[in-house]
Each structure stands twice: as structure tokens, then as C-alpha cells.
């Protein structure tokens, strides 16, 4: 498949944005500036980027607790994201959601999700809405290997397959469900083989190769838009960090981490661009600087933003009822 240089550069920028945003979030968390839990997407950038490069603004995605990368790839604004990580009133969710619940309905982002496996059936619902309206929209459902042992995985894929819904199930197999390695949490190596149970296509790709992800999702999206139903795509990848920031990661070896860092998706696409004369080193450097600046601006925006008014805690529960304040 021929991928245009513009698309290559566009995807590279998205991956870099995720990498720099997450690195900043990691540092801010370490400095004690971000409250709560943070699950970083470092190392998995190629999956969200390659998948979302096939989507339009009005296509849907459902995301996970490790959602920052999906949101950025689908067009989320770094300023509102960072402000939400700080719990500020200018954040995507006015400080009510935090890292695990960032959403932007105007971009078809039906939310990150703190419940592992909850997105499968929500994605089925979004796909159902698209099919019902005959709109040609699709929904990409992102989920991890850990969630494929939840009943929702089976329920979602089953319903999507019998109704031929336009849903692309993108599994980010990073080898661990929290601390439990894949070999300890399921008796298979390739999750894509489960597609057989639903009589739908299932493929496994190198999730650290943005082009491989792009191509697999491209085919699946095109099938979905034609009414040919869902696809299961497994992207083998690895998270550079622990399950959450502060995770001691005693369950995996330094050698394993180092092996995977050699397959880091970002140097790979940089090498491709230089080798194929898509961008020169100095252009790559300029992009690094530019995105670094955007992340710094987003951080400043977040730090300069106000905390939410406490009375807002009881708003937005319903559209038409404001609960009693203290």
C-alpha cells in the first residue's frame, strides 16, 4: 500500500505529540503536580496513530484507562487535556473526569474509560447508531489484552458480528494485564485468533510499526463502511512504563524492556523518513522543537487555569436537575 509523504509526516507529528505529552505528564506526576492515577501510552504511539489516521472527525472511538494517546490521535487538544489532568475548570471535563475519563464528543471521542473492557459494548452502540442512520461512520474500539478476558469482549464482538456493525476492534496487546503477563492470563498468544469465534476477519500486526497498523485498520474501516461488519486487529506492542506511574514493575525484566525499546516506534518512523527522504534530520529536529513548545504551552495553560468552583460538583449529573450543594 502506498502511503503518501504527507500522511507519513502527519502520523509522525501525532506520534511525537503523544510521546512528548506523555513524557511531560510523567515528569509532572513525578513532581507531584498531577493528582490521582496516570496510565501512560509511551511506547504504544503507533497503534492509536495508525488507527486514527483512517478516521474522519465524525467517526467514533472508544478508549481505555490508557487513553491519552487515543485522544491526541483523534484530534484532542493538548491544552484541554493537560488542564483535565490537573483537574482544572478549563479541562475537557471541567475537572470532573481526570486522566481516565477524557472525552470530546465533538471529535467522536466517547471517552477514556476506567473500567477495563467497558468500551466494547459502547463501541457496539456507536456502530449501531451509525448503521441505523446509514451514515457511513465507523467506530474504532481500542482495548488492551487484559480486557479480552472480560465477558464484554465476547458480548461486544458477538453482537457486532451478527448485526454486521461498522466497528473495528483494535487490541493493543502490550503483553500484560496490569502485572499479569499474557501467558499467565490467557492460553493463547495471538488474540486475533478469537475472530474465528465470530466468523469475522482477525489479523495480528506489529503494533510498533505505524504503517502496518495503518494498513490493517484501513482495510477494516473500508469493510466497515461498506457494511461488511467488524474486524478484530491485534497490535503487538509494549508499554515503556508500568501499568500506572508509580508501578514498581517487578513483574518484568530490564532486558525485556530494553529489547522492546529497540523496537520503539518513533525512531523507526524517523529512520524511515530519513532513508526515504521524506524529511531531513533538521526538519525532524524542528518538529521536535515545535511540538515541545505546544506541550509547554498546554502545561502553562493548565497551570494558569483556575480550579473549578466547588459548587460545580453537583452540576452535570443530569441535564435538568442540579443536585443540592453542601
Amino acid at each position: 500500500m502506498k502511503i503518501s509523504n504527507d500522511l507519513v509526516v502527519g502520523m509522525y507529528q501525532k506520534m511525537l505529540k503523544i510521546r512528548k505529552f506523555e513524557t511531560k505528564a510523567m515528569n509532572l506526576f513525578a513532581e507531584g503536580k498531577i493528582p490521582g492515577f496516570v496510565h501512560l501510552y509511551l511506547g504504544e504511539e503507533a497503534v492509536a496513530t495508525g488507527a486514527c489516521a483512517n478516521l474522519n472527525d465524525d467517526d467514533y472511538i472508544t478508549s481505555t484507562h490508557r487513553g491519552h494517546g487515543h485522544i491526541i490521535a483523534k484530534g484532542g487538544d493538548l491544552k484541554y487535556m493537560m488542564a483535565e489532568l490537573f483537574g482544572k475548570e478549563t479541562g475537557y471535563c471541567k475537572g470532573k473526569g481526570g486522566s481516565m475519563h477524557i472525552a470530546d464528543a465533538t471529535k467522536g471521542i466517547l471517552g477514556a474509560n476506567g473500567i477495563v473492557g467497558a468500551g466494547h459494548n459502547i463501541a457496539v452502540g456507536a456502530g449501531l447508531a451509525a448503521q441505523y442512520r446509514g451514515s457511513q461512520q465507523v467506530c474504532v474500539c481500542f482495548f488492551g489484552d487484559g480486557s479480552t478476558n472480560q465477558s464484554t469482549f465476547h458480548e461486544g464482538l458477538n453482537l457486532a458480528s451478527i448485526w454486521k456493525l461498522p466497528v473495528v476492534f483494535v487490541c493493543e496487546n502490550n503483553g500484560y494485564g496490569i502485572s499479569l503477563s499474557q501467558e499467565k492470563h490467557q492460553n493463547i498468544t495471538d488474540i486475533s485468533m478469537r475472530a474465528v469465534s465470530y466468523n469475522i476477519p482477525g489479523v495480528t500486526v506489529d503494533g510498533n510499526d505505524v504503517f502496518a497498523v495503518y494498513e490493517a485498520v484501513n482495510e477494516a474501516v473500508s469493510r466497515a463502511r461498506k457494511g461488511q461488519g467488524p474486524t478484530l486487529i491485534e497490535c503487538k506492542t509494549y508499554r515503556h512504563r508500568g501499568h500506572f506511574e508509580g508501578d514498581p514493575t517487578t513483574y518484568r525484566s530490564t532486558e525485556e524492556v530494553e529489547q522492546w525499546k529497540k523496537k520503539d516506534p518513533i525512531p523507526r518512523i524517523e529512520k524511515y523518513m530519513v532513508d526515504n527522504k521524506v524529511l531531513r534530520d533538521d526538519e525532524i529536529k524542528a518538529l521536535h522543537d515545535e511540538i515541545e513548545k505546544q506541550v509547554e504551552e498546554a502545561t502553562k495553560f493548565a497551570l494558569d487555569s483556575k480550579d473549578p468552583d466547588v459548587a460545580s460538583a453537583v452540576e452535570d449529573v443530569y441535564t435538568d436537575i442540579v443536585e443540592e450543594a453542601r
Partner: protein
Amino acid sequence: MRKMTYAQGIKEGMRIKMLENPDVFIFGEDVGQFGGCFGVTAGMYDEFGEKRIRDTPISEGAIIGAAVGSAAAGLRPIAELMFIDFTTVGMDQLVNQAAKMRYMFGGKITLPMVVRLPAGAGVRAAAQHSQSLEAWLTHVPGLKVVYPSSPQDAIGMMMTAIDDDNPVMFIEHKVLYGLTGEVEDEVKPIPFGKANIKKEGNDVTIVTYGKQVYDALKAAETLAKDDIDVEVIDLRSLYPLDKETVFKSIEKTHKVVLVSEETKRGAFTGELAAMIAEECFFECDAPITRVGALNCPIPFSPVLEDYVIPGEKEIVEAVKSLF
């Protein structure tokens, strides 16, 4: 006026809105050609076709999840669970997704979805098909919980539920499906949070909903023979809740009995009792009294089931204990 059953009332409410708005559609187990386990959607498959009346596999998580996702994407789904007892299987989608999505996303999304929940005992369906689980649902901010008791209310409240931009848990008592009642020729939506005074009285207030409305009315007749003049309030909507009508009645009667078919421990009536104690204590001249099911699962044997769930007799005894 015309006559119809409670089941037909629910259907009529759905039909009216489906004819009005193409975004309204129904799905659930056996709701299509089969017409629903209790026949509520009978004939709708022929009228609206399989796109709008959809049979799902036995997959409650997917049913509620698909309602959440399609509502978030702009449709107005009505999902039927065959029994309220099966919410357990789809509880994450109700509690962590449907109820919280709008809030977690800073109010930037609406979830106009209705979940129909056939509930209650009395049909000899035993422990896993007879429960009254409304308190689980009223406990969760973000859900509206309503419980019509008559064909007229079923139509009007279903219309309101479908028009609501929030997730509405629409609880239906199974014993009421066959109940016939008069319905106005021109039906109107009935707003949530408006209780219905089914019988006025001066001596004691019974607050109830669902099937127990009828048990309370029978008890009121019996008690009238002893010169006890009972007021019966049908809450209709558990959240939002019409506190005003309840408090006004207690200010008049100074005695209150709270009746539901729920297992008494942790029941919604406990919440009502606490609310009255906190906000209306000095109006009461007798203990706030509750009537509910015994604290055991609903048994199968008709003899045992009738013993466990409350009825007219238990209500009469509770009221008399206050005099």
C-alpha cells in the same frame, strides 16, 4: 375514555414516540416477532420492522452497553431487560457508564436512553426472577428511576422517559401487566417528580408505588371500617422524588406508613424514612413505619412467596399499630 391493560399502556407510550421520532427504537431479548417475554412489544415488529424492533442475543451487558453507545451517538434507544434481576449481568454499563458518562465528561454529552425493567414478585418465578431492586438504582446519581402503577401512567411516563435526555430506569411490575384501566383518549406525557394522590384522607399517609398502590387502596377500604381515614400517595417517580406532596400529606395526617415490595433491609423506603425523619420529624406524632418483604430471597412455593411479600394484611396491621 378507553380501556387498556398496563402492558398495552407501556406499548402505547412507545408507539406514540416511535411514530413521532425515527431515532426511537427498541431492542432486547425476544422483543421482535416473539413480542417480548410478557407480550409488551406484541405487534410492534410487524408495525415498525426489524430495524426498529431488534432481537438481541441473551447478552445483557451488550444490551445496556449498546443503549449507552447509541444514545451517546445521538439516538434514543429503549432497551428491554427481560427481568430487573438481570441488571446484575449488565450492572457496569448502568452504574459506571450510563449513570456517570455525562458527569465524567463535564456535561458535554447526553444519554437519552430508557431501560425497561420488569420487576416484582407474585408470579411464582422464585429468587432470581422476582426481585424489587429499585434501591440499587436510586442509589446511583445520574439515573432517573420511575415506576408507573396504571395504564394511564404507563403511557404518559413512557412518553416522558423517551423524551428525557438522561438515562431512565423504567420499572414495570409483572403482576400489573394484565391490569385493565381507563385511559384518556388524548394522552399526554406525565412529568417525572409528580406524585399522585390516589385517595385523600386525614388520619394517616401511606406512601407507596407500583403494585403496592393497589394493596394500599384495599387496606384503606378495610381501615375505613374502623374509622381510619387513609391517604394513599403513589410516588410514580422515585427519582426525581416529589417530597413536597409527601411532606404536605404528613403535615395533615401526622402519621406515615411507607410500603414497598422490596426486601426491607436497605430498601428505598429506608431512604424515604430517613428523609422524613430529617426534614419532617416534628410533624410526625407516631413512629415512621415501614412495610416490606421479609429479609430472605423470594421463595418459589406459593405459600412461602405469599408469606414473604407484603400485602393488604401487613399494611392494615402497620397502620393499626399507629393508633
